[in-house]
């Protein structure tokens, strides 16, 4: 057996042939793992099934952000504009 085939066989044994359930995958990839940037950018699409089961696992629902702009600078700009609108509105009162 060649070294590469030996390595491949050993690799299969390292992780095994486990039946990875969707719930465990969601728990792992959406709520764990290294966060290396200030903003996580995720688009929401057709995740009803996942979202329903997220509540069972108490996954962080903020991993799913419906309707949010994926660009952090645009979000910051929107937040700033919203703050300025609130200040103008309160100044008029």
């Amino acid at each position: 057996m060649s070294p590469r085939r030996k390595a491949a066989t050993k690799a299969v044994q390292v992780l095994g042939d486990e039946d990875a359930t969707l719930l465990d995958i969601v728990d792992n990839v959406l709520t764990k793992g290294v966060v290396l940037s200030g903003d996580l950018t995720i688009g929401l699409a057709h995740v009803d099934l996942v979202y329903a089961r997220l509540s069972l696992l108490l996954c962080a629902a903020d991993r799913v952000m419906p309707g949010e702009d994926p660009e952090p600078m645009r979000r910051q700009h929107d937040r700033h504009r919203a703050r300025m609108r609130r200040r103008r509105a309160s100044a008029r009162v």
């Binding site: 690799a11 486990e18 990875a20 959406l30 764990k32 793992g33 290396l36 950018t41 688009g43 108490l58």
Partner: protein, 224 residues
């Protein structure tokens, strides 16, 4: 919309070329930034959290386990605009990431979901999770330390202690789910770990669901 650099993992101990594709079918690359090796993929837009994408992401991270001694999986959706931005982000965390790489070297994660037998989590399970100290300050610290402990799970921990190199736990107490425990164990120890844990669950009259081995997601960020 400009391209995004999506991070799959911080890695070390490479033992071969990268295999397979990323979650969006993109080619994966290993890059060296700030003294660390990262696996990235360049995509036209941020990833969407579909079931298919999440499964493909997990599959890509699993393949990294086959060719690296240490893998710190990134959270799904970890994207930046440029490699320079990524390098600046990780530079300050270099030492913490190196410690985490040493911790997870040649190790995998097992996940244990602990359920109450019926109805809600028994009151005795909750009560034992809040030990009483001898002073208010100590009480507070003990309570904070125990907040994440899964009540009633001590027999399970005892049974698998010899395999466990690190543990994370989350109390849930939602319906029948008492909590989740994540154990970091040596690669290859998963079968023996499962047997020991399941025997302990039966003896303690606990309902548990064990899954794994997984890449060490719960140990990648040094605490969450």
């Amino acid at each position: 919309m400009s391209e995004r650099v999506c991070v799959y993992a911080v890695v070390s101990g490479a033992a071969g070329p990268l295999r397979g594709e990323g979650a969006a079918g993109e080619r994966l690359r290993r890059v060296r930034l700030a003294g660390l090796d990262l696996v990235i993929g360049v995509v036209p837009r941020p990833p969407r959290a579909t079931t298919v994408a999440l499964k493909r992401y997990d599959a890509a991270v699993r393949r990294l386990m086959e060719t690296h001694g240490s893998v710190l999986p990134a959270r799904f959706g970890t994207c930046v605009a440029t490699l320079d931005e990524l390098a600046a982000t990780i530079r300050d965390r270099r030492e913490a990431l190196r410690r985490a790489l040493r911790l997870v070297r040649h190790r995998v994660q097992m996940t244990v979901r602990v359920f109450a037998r019926s109805g809600r989590v028994p009151a005795r399970f909750i009560a034992e999770a809040y030990p009483r100290g001898t002073a208010p300050g100590r009480d507070y610290l003990l309570r904070r330390a125990s907040e994440s402990q899964v009540p009633g799970a001590e027999p399970l921990r005892t049974a698998v202690r010899k395999y466990v190199r690190a543990e994370r736990s989350v109390r849930q107490e939602r319906g029948r789910l008492a909590g989740s425990i994540y154990h970091l164990i040596p690669r290859g120890a998963a079968p023996a770990y499962r047997v020991a844990l399941q025997h302990a669950a039966v003896a303690a009259n606990l309902t548990v669901v064990v899954s794994g081995p997984w890449p060490p997601y719960a140990f990648a960020d040094g605490g969450w």
